[in-house]
């Protein structure tokens, strides 16, 4: 296990290094000049040159890349050009908001998606199955931004204007406040629920046709016990793999939903960094997102090993 962990961490380091180099190259070759972005059209060529010099942008590419990697290894992701502050504390300050949204959204996805998927698989071809499939198709098809705006309009704005009924706030964020969290989490969860319904249904159908299920039924076990204690347990590895990917991905920023709900998370920070040609922040948010995905994948592998006795490292 220790050897497995060491190997995976080493691979994780190489993934981060590769992403850092590739992202750095991409931001370097983008034709936008961050110094020009700072001074605007008004600044003279001399102003641009001064800013470039101060930001170290006139150094040769390899010097810039080497410097960036060396500083990153020491935990220094540089200073944001636009926000005029250190990148790492800025990103970390956004993590609680994103984490709340990601965890709540995934929880809603699981609570809706998994039982619905199991139900659809258990009653394959029935009205339940068709309804679950239709619902998941609709939810997958609905753009998240549209659903978000509709939820704000129907559940927050209109009740307030028509009946002076403040069910939910019109966007915005308060730490650890369920009223602010509810609508963005529901938007994220609804889309996720559709994926989990499909995934669970497919995995359960595979399991329900296995010999061990037939054996369990033959020896007289009840449907519920066969479904949940036997078949469902074996659908967990693909579910957990997806869960890990989602968790890592969402912790790196839930871009559209954060934008629609004016939610100050990592995703919106990433969008702003691109809009402002804020290269240190672009690098920082990409590196942070990658880090989250690498760690989440590692954790998933460990959890799967814990719950599946067939898997040992």
């Amino acid at each position: 296990m220790i050897r497995f962990l060491a190997t995976r961490m080493l691979w994780g380091f190489f993934v981060l290094l590769t992403v850092a180099v590739v992202t750095f190259v991409l931001t370097y070759v983008v034709p936008a000049d961050p110094a020009r972005a700072i001074v605007g059209l008004r600044g003279s060529a001399e102003d641009v040159a001064r800013i470039r010099d101060a930001l170290g942008l006139n150094e040769p590419f390899m010097v810039q890349l080497g410097g960036y990697l060396a500083r990153t290894l020491q935990g220094d992701l540089g200073h944001s050009y636009h926000h005029r502050t250190e990148v790492l504390p800025l990103i970390l300050s956004r993590v609680p908001a994103t984490a709340q949204l990601a965890l709540a959204g995934i929880a809603i996805s699981l609570v809706i998606g998994v039982p619905l998927g199991v139900l659809a698989a258990r009653r394959r071809g029935s009205g339940w199955d068709r309804a679950a499939t239709m619902l998941s198709t609709v939810l997958v098809s609905v753009p998240a931004f549209w659903l978000g705006y509709m939820l704000i309009d129907l559940l927050a704005f209109r009740p307030l204007m028509a009946f002076d009924l403040a069910l939910f706030p019109i966007g915005g964020y308060e730490p650890m406040d369920l009223r602010y969290l509810a609508l963005p989490a529901l938007t994220l969860g609804a889309t996720g629920a559709a994926y989990y319904t499909r995934l669970t249904r497919s995995a359960m159908l595979d399991e329900l046709h296995q010999d061990y299920v037939r054996t369990a039924q033959a020896k007289g076990l009840g449907d519920r016990r066969v479904t949940w204690r036997h078949a469902f347990r074996n659908t967990l590895p693909p579910l957990l793999t997806q869960l890990g990917l989602d968790l890592g991905f969402f912790l790196g920023g839930v871009v559209i939903i954060e934008q629609v709900f004016s939610w100050p998370g990592v995703g919106r920070l990433a969008v702003d960094s691109i809009t402002n040609t804020d290269i240190p922040l672009i690098m920082g948010t990409v590196m942070f997102g990658t880090f989250c995905i690498v760690v989440a994948n590692l954790l998933v592998d460990l959890v799967i090993a814990l719950i599946d006795p067939r898997i040992r490292y």
Partner: protein, 562 residues
Amino acid sequence: MRPSPRRITVPALLALILLLAACGAQDAASPSAAASEASGDGGTDESQPASGGGTVSIGFEGDIASLDPSQGYDYISWPAERLIFETLVTYGGSTELVPQLSTEMPTVSDDGLTYTFALHEGVSFVMPDGTVHREMTADDVVFSLNRLLSPNLTPAPSPVAGAFYTLIEGGQAVVDGEADEATGLVAVDDYTVEITITNPDLTFLNILAMPFASVVPADLATDDTEAFSETPVGTGPYLLESRTIGESATFVLNPHYWGDPPANAGVEFRVGIDANTAVQQVEANQLDIMGDPIPSGMVTSLRDNPDYDDRIFVFQQVAVTYLSMDTTPPDDGPLGNVLVRQAMNHAIDKDNILQLLRGRGTVAHCIFPTELPGFNPDCMPYDYDPDRAQELMDEAGVDGFSTTLYTDPSEDSSAIAQAIQQDLAVIGIEIEIVTQEFDVLLGTITTPHEAPLVLIGWFQDFPDPSDFYDPILSCATAVEGGANVSWYCNEDNDALAAEAKGLQDVDQRLAMYQELEQRVMEDAPWVPIYFPATDTFISDRLTNFDPHPVWFVDLAKYGVSG
């Protein structure tokens, strides 16, 4: 027995979320925390003077870039900086300059080079916690301008020190790192400052009114601009109470403010707010002012609502959107022919373009916007006349050509570019439209002759016609990295501009700029398209709102009712 994994994962995750969320739910205010903040009821410090009503809130999609006045250069940072800092002179309710930290407008030497300012006595720098730091003196004024010029500011020098402030004698040497202090900045005594500039230029006072020239305390404002932005100390009517990047910044009244108290008890900047959400928050009186324009998709429905007649403000910006033409193409191409450029001026139907933009602005016939001192309503050298345009093309001996138009990908720019494409096709000019993200576009168009045609806008830095000639039409800026993207250079015009700049007689000066405008239009480096207007939406409870012609918002003047 090992518990089933499902018993651990899903319910535990849910429980964790609900527990965390429930901890904060009890703090939720009614009808919403945001509304409570906006109402100002109990939302402000008890130690504040009770002038005016509650807190005025303004929302932006973007964020305040910096609260260090040497750095912030955008429409969000400036109104925030102006709450904390003050300048020697500023604008009153109009484009007219009035004294601020100076007791009266400065005396100017006969040669127009030396400005002497008498400072108010008893003006204090006040710390964010409300304690008085010390009195402001002339040394602070001198320090502030030297700091602005300094190349040692970290992480980067001021973005526009070179563009505006090297007019101060010895300023260039400071910018270049050859001197620590500009020779033209002198503290005569504690309350008198003398500033000498290199050339007679009345716009120097406009430059001093820009927030860059705010007075900061010499002993607190170090070279570290990030640190000063976090703890800004000025002489202005407000103090920074708190700021969370990406969320909000709250300003409370300065209890030791020397001037007239503001009309409200505080200001809250809510940043990172989606524009559609901001509209709904304003409708529900949870936000007082939309800092961004109303999203185009919501304009019609809001304007059709009679309840909002007195809550939607449309106001003309001091700006011009124009089609710039490369007047000196390297291949001696047709755009270098003035007759072709004049033909293009006749060929474009600007009324049609304005209709496409739902009437948000005024057709531009010349360079200076309608709200700019020096605007000439009689300047209309080229009417829409495709036949005349074709005649000019024939006269030029040009039987059509193909070229490329560069612009940004915004909805308005795309609509205008397509209309121009159709209009110019009538006289045989085929245009390929290339859209680039704005920061990329800036690089393209400031590279000599890279972009034959450019559709772009110019917004005032200060309300003076020189700001619509020097940076974008003079020979000095028709160089790589300059903003004269038509690469237009007429030395006779430059001489006229220099003469106009130094004149003390305002009427004579403006008349000279009008002559300059006519001359430039004869050379036709641009097709002026329109002077854009913008709009904003305010809450029902905001009082005294009136868009400012320079600052857009003058937050200290607005109150809230109810």
